[in-house]
């Protein structure tokens, strides 16, 4: 301390230790050679939303029922939904248009939290660089649809909970339907053979 320059020398020793250490100590060897070498993203990681579909058909299997809750709750208002209509012009529980403007999306995950149907989830793909802003960054329903399999791979722990929950709901609904059918049958009361 008393010697002028001792602090400087101490600093140089420290940088020297780092220099040498970066060749031998893995804790100091931190560079990821990005395009060749990629770090696994943690399960919770989120970038942009996608739509989950069950089964094989990305159009008919969509879980989205076009309830517009996410559109309403989205803080930067980057979701746009138009419900589909059946032949008689009545709204169907299905989106005709489902667009997300990812040039506005702030990756906040609020759409996922408010969705009561577990139909919108967060993707982890981050490379969305485009030369054309208008065409490339407005994602449509077809760009957004992903199978449930994909969701299970991305967020295994979360998907397990969601799948169980959905299965339980389906069971409840079906048993409810069965009970209703049973009640409507004339002279019911006997448990019939299940459908």
């Amino acid at each position: 301390m008393s010697v002028e320059g001792a602090g400087l020398i101490r600093g140089f020793i420290e940088t020297g230790r780092n220099l040498v250490g970066s060749y031998v100590d893995p804790r100091r060897w931190v560079t990821v050679q990005y395009p060749e070498e990629r770090r696994a993203t943690p399960e919770n990681s989120r970038v942009y939303p996608f739509l989950v579909y069950d089964g094989a058909d990305p159009e008919e299997g969509l879980r989205c029922v076009s309830c517009k809750i996410c559109e309403k709750e989205c803080p930067p208002q980057c979701i746009y939904i138009v419900p589909a209509q059946d032949e008689r012009g009545r709204p169907r529980k299905h989106p005709a248009i489902f667009d997300i403007d990812i040039s506005v999306c702030m990756s906040c995950q609020i759409c996922v939290e408010v969705c009561p149907f577990d139909s919108i989830k967060m993707d982890q793909a981050y490379a969305w660089d485009r030369e054309d802003r208008f065409g490339g960054l407005l994602l449509h329903k077809a760009d957004l649809a992903r199978p449930n399999r994909y969701y299970r791979e991305l967020h295994p722990a979360e998907a397990r909970v969601v799948d169980e929950h959905l299965a339980r709901e389906r069971e409840l609904r079906e048993s409810g339907v069965r009970a209703a059918v049973r009640a409507s049958l004339p002279g019911s009361g006997e448990p019939g053979g299940g459908t």
Binding site: Y80, D101, V104, F134, L138
Partner: protein, 211 residues
Amino acid sequence: MERLASIQARIEAALPEAKLALAANPGASGQHSLVVEAAHLEAVARRLRDDPELQFDYLSNVTGVDWLDRVETDKVRVKREYQGEEIEVEESVERRVPGYLEVVYHLYSVARGTGPLVLRVRTGNRTDRVDVPSLANVFRGAELQEREVYDLFGVVFTGHPDLRRLLMWEGFSGHPMRKDYVEPDDYEYEPTPHGEVAAKASRRYAKRGQP
């Protein structure tokens, strides 16, 4: 509330001409406030700072609030003659409350670790009587925050050493945080419009001759 009342009594005893009013907070936070007349604001603030029992020496937060003109309905009981008898009936009377701007100060005491003490001061109206004395000479910490309130709400702080716009540019007109501020119309491209944005965008498209 009692503590606030005792502070009020203490200040009124020291400054007899300054009248303070308690404003109760109906919410869960229990942060009630003292309403000060603008003319006595500086004296009250100085007293709060220098009183050895209070020592509110730290002005944490200064902010403006815009209260629009509103209509309040009061329920009054009036005597009416009905079929020869005099009965008491309840009638609602509409009362027009003119709008005003409000400046809210949150004071703490570094010396005693107490707070917050909430002071409020109101302007006469929202258009021409919008001046409030500046506290920048009592608390330096008010300087930038008062400039911000001036910029965004249009409250004029008399006695402020350097009252200029803080955030918007020089030459900007209007006070954007007021509730009736009309936002600039730049909705040329809105691919996901809904709610208010849809209405604004469709107006804009119509101007450009777009569907």
